[in-house]
C-alpha cells in the first residue's frame, strides 16, 4: 500500500495554496443519540489545500466531511464554508451545497438518468444554466475524466471505475470551489482504482481545494499537503505527509500506520 496505485506522479509545483480560508471548523461536536461521534473538531482549510483524512473505521472521518455540506447535522460549534455559516437556514445550506462537490464511496449516480443527464441535472435545475450550455459543460468534464463516449449510456452499463469518474464529472459540472471525497476508491476493484486516482490527481494539479477520506496512502504522499489522522471522533494528529508517515508522533498514529503499511 505504500506504492501509489498509479505510476502517474503528481506535479506538486503546480499546486499552490493561498492564505484565503475555504473552510473553518471551530469546536465542532456531534452526537448520535448518546454517542459522541465528533469531539471538538478544529480545522482550517485554505484555498488550494489537498487534505487527506485517514483513521480506523468508526473514527468519524466520513461523518466529519459529511458535516461540511450538511448531510449530517452538527450540534455544537461552527462551520463556515466559503464565508457562509452553516446553520439551520435552508438557503445557506443550499448555497453551500452548490459550492461544494461531493463524491461518494458508492458513486450514487442516478440510475434512471443517462450519464449526460446525471451531469446536467444540477446545473440546469440549481444554477438555471440553459440546457445547451449545461450539456457543453458536461461534455467538457466527461472528456476530462476520459469517458465522453459513454454520455448517452445509463450508469448501470458502466464499470465501477467509470461510474466513479462520472460521479466526479457530475460534481465538477456545478463548478464547485471545494471537493469532498468520501472513500472514493473503497468500493472499486484494484485495477479501477488507478483511473479514479489519476482523475483526482489531475484535479489537485488544477488547484482544487480537496478534502479526501481515503486509505490510499500512496495518494496521500504524492498529492496531499496535509494528512489528518482521526480516532474515536477526534483529530489525533495532523502534519505534512512526509513527517506524518516517517515520523508519527502519537502512539495511536504509529499503531494505525503499522497496521495499514505493515504488509
Amino acid at each position: 500500500m505504500t506504492e501509489l496505485a498509479t505510476e502517474r506522479t503528481a506535479d506538486r509545483s503546480k499546486m499552490s495554496i493561498s492564505d484565503e480560508v475555504a473552510i473553518q471548523i471551530t469546536n465542532m461536536n456531534k452526537w448520535y443519540g448518546d454517542f459522541h461521534v465528533l469531539r471538538d473538531i478544529n480545522l482550517t482549510v485554505y484555498r488550494g489545500e489537498r487534505i487527506v483524512v485517514c483513521g480506523p473505521s468508526g473514527s468519524g472521518k466520513s461523518t466529519m466531511i459529511r458535516c461540511i455540506n450538511r448531510l449530517e447535522e452538527h450540534q455544537k460549534g461552527d462551520i463556515i464554508v466559503d464565508g457562509i455559516e452553516l446553520n439551520s437556514d435552508l438557503k445557506n445550506i443550499d448555497k453551500i451545497r452548490a459550492e461544494v462537490g461531493m463524491v461518494f464511496q458508492h458513486f450514487n449516480l442516478f440510475p434512471h438518468l443517462t450519464i449526460l443527464e446525471n451531469c446536467t441535472l444540477a446545473p440546469i435545475w440549481v444554477r438555471k444554466t440553459p440546457r445547451r450550455e449545461a450539456e457543453e459543460v458536461a461534455m467538457h468534464f466527461l472528456k476530462k475524466v476520459k469517458i465522453p463516449e459513454q454520455a448517452h449510456k445509463y450508469p448501470g452499463q458502466l464499470s465501477g471505475g467509470q461510474q466513479q469518474r462520472v460521479a466526479i464529472a457530475r460534481a465538477l459540472c456545478m463548478k464547485p470551489r471545494i471537493m469532498l471525497f468520501d472513500e472514493p476508491t473503497s468500493a472499486l476493484d484494484p485495477e479501477m482504482i488507478k483511473e479514479v486516482l489519476d482523475t483526482m490527481i489531475e484535479l489537485a494539479e488544477e488547484g482544487m481545494t480537496m478534502i479526501c477520506v481515503t486509505h490510499e496512502m500512496g495518494f496521500a504522499r504524492s498529492v496531499a499537503n496535509r494528512v489528518i489522522f482521526m480516532d474515536q471522533g477526534q483529530i489525533v494528529e495532523q502534519n505534512e505527509p512526509e513527517e506524518f508517515f516517517l515520523n508519527p508522533k502519537s502512539d495511536r498514529t504509529k499503531l494505525f500506520l503499522s497496521q495499514i503499511l505493515g504488509h
Binding site: 461531493m102 461518494f104 450514487n108 440510475p111 434512471h112 444540477a122 457530475r170
Partner: protein, 372 residues
C-alpha cells in the same frame, strides 16, 4: 508431505480459446419441450393432466358460448326453444342499458365521444413518444368530460340518477384512478415528513381509511357526508361516491408508494442533497421517478382493485352493471338467466383490468435502465 512435483503442474495457456456454439441438445424446440413439459415424471403427469383438462373443458364452453348460443329472441323461453346454449339475446336487447344505464338515448353520442376523448387524453400520459403539447388536452379533459356527460354550457343537462352501467363504472373508476395517484403520493411523502403535524395527519388518515371497509365509506357518502358540507349545498351522489372511492384508494396508494420510497437507497437522497437540489426538486427529479417505477406493480394492483370495487356502489342504489343485472332479472321475460349476465360483465371488467396489467408490464420494461 505431498510427493507431487509442483514443476509438473506449471502451465501457460497457448492462446485464447475461441467461443463456440452450445451443444445442439441445449437449443431448439425439442430442447424446449423436454425442459418445460417433460423434464421429469411429475412434470410429465402435470402436462398430460393439463392436456386432458383442456380437451374436456374447451369444446363444451365453445358450444355453449358460440355454437349453440342464441343472439336474437325476445324472452328466455324463446331462447330455450331456439338453442341449448347461452342466451345472449338478453344482452343484445339490453345492451344500451348495460352501457349507459338510463342515459337519454338521443344523447348517447355524448358519453361515446367522452370515451373516445378519454383515450386521446390518456395517450400522451401513457406513451412518452407522443408530442408533449397533447398534455394540455389531457389537463383540460376532466372539464370537457364533465360537461359532455352531465350537460351544461348549452348541452341538455342529464341527471346523475340517469347514469348507469359501464358508463357509471368508468366514470367512478377513471376519476378514482386519476385522483388517487397524486393524493397517494402526497400522503406517502407526508408520512415520511419530519414535520410532526403533517406526519400525524397522514398516518391517522391512512390508518383510518385502510381500517374501514369501502362499503361503510359508501354508506357514509350516501347519507352522512352531506352533514359535512354547508347546508343547502346538495352535493351530487356520484361526486360523493368518487370522493370516497378516491380517499379509499389513495390510502392504499400511499402505502404502496411508501414501499417504493423505502426501497430507494439512502445514497440517492444524499446525492440529490449534495448537488444542492432542494426538497421539491430532489423529490420530483430524483426520488419520485425511481420510487414510482419500483411501485408500478403495486400501483397498478391498486388501480385494478379500485376499478373492480366500483361495483360496490350497487349497495347504495346506483345502477352499475351489477345493479342492472338485478334489475334485468326482475323482468319476467328474462327471469331465470344468470350465467350470461355475469360472463358478460366479467368479460368487460377483465378486458379493462387485463389492459392495465399489460400496460404496467410494458412500462416496467420501458423504464428498466439499471441493466442488472
Amino acid at each position: 508431505m505431498s510427493k507431487t512435483d509442483t514443476r509438473a503442474l506449471a502451465f501457460v495457456s497457448s492462446g485464447t480459446i475461441p467461443p463456440s456454439p452450445p451443444p445442439s441438445s441445449e437449443v431448439g424446440a425439442v430442447h424446449w419441450l423436454r425442459e418445460n413439459l417433460f423434464s421429469g415424471w411429475f412434470n410429465t403427469i402435470l402436462t398430460l393432466a393439463s392436456i386432458a383438462v383442456v380437451v374436456l373443458l374447451v369444446p363444451p364452453i365453445v358450444e355453449w358460448a358460440f355454437l349453440d348460443s342464441v343472439w336474437n329472441a325476445s324472452s328466455l323461453s324463446e331462447c330455450r326453444e331456439k338453442g341449448t346454449g347461452a342466451c345472449w339475446a338478453v344482452i343484445n336487447e339490453r345492451f344500451n342499458q348495460f352501457m349507459f344505464g338510463f342515459y337519454p338515448p338521443h344523447l348517447y353520442w355524448r358519453p361515446i365521444l367522452t370515451f373516445v376523448l378519454l383515450f386521446v387524453a390518456l395517450a400522451p400520459v401513457l406513451f412518452g413518444s407522443l408530442p408533449r403539447q397533447m398534455l394540455w388536452f389531457s389537463l383540460l379533459f376532466p372539464v370537457v368530460a364533465y360537461f359532455l356527460i352531465w350537460g351544461g354550457l348549452g348541452l341538455e343537462p342529464v341527471e346523475s340518477r340517469q347514469l348507469g352501467g359501464f358508463l357509471l363504472a368508468l366514470v367512478i373508476g377513471v376519476a378514482g384512478i386519476v385522483l388517487s395517484l397524486p393524493i397517494g403520493i402526497l400522503l406517502a411523502l407526508g408520512r415520511k415528513s419530519h414535520l410532526i403535524f403533517i406526519k400525524t395527519i397522514c398516518v391517522v388518515f391512512i390508518e383510518f381509511i385502510r381500517g374501514v371497509p369501502l362499503i361503510t365509506l359508501l354508506f357514509v357518502a350516501n347519507s352522512v357526508l352531506a352533514y359535512f358540507f354547508p347546508p343547502g349545498s346538495n352535493l351530487d351522489l356520484i361526486l360523493r361516491v368518487v370522493i370516497m372511492v378516491t380517499l379509499f384508494a389513495s390510502a392504499y396508494m400511499a402505502e404502496v408508494i411508501r414501499g417504493g420510497l423505502a426501497a430507494l437507497p439512502q445514497g440517492q437522497y444524499e446525492a440529490a442533497d449534495a448537488l444542492g437540489l432542494n426538497y421539491q426538486k430532489s423529490m420530483r427529479l430524483i426520488v419520485l421517478p425511481q420510487a414510482l417505477k419500483i411501485s408500478i406493480p403495486g400501483i397498478v394492483n391498486t388501480f385494478i382493485g379500485l376499478f373492480k370495487d366500483t361495483t360496490l356502489v350497487v349497495v347504495i342504489g346506483l345502477l352499475d352493471p351489477i345493479g342492472l343485472i338485478a334489475a334485468t332479472r326482475a323482468d319476467s321475460n328474462w327471469n331465470g338467466i344468470i350465467w350470461e349476465f355475469y360472463v358478460f360483465v366479467g368479460f368487460f371488467f377483465f378486458i379493462a383490468c387485463f389492459g392495465m396489467s399489460r400496460y404496467s408490464m410494458y412500462l416496467e420494461r420501458k423504464l428498466k435502465t439499471d441493466h442488472r
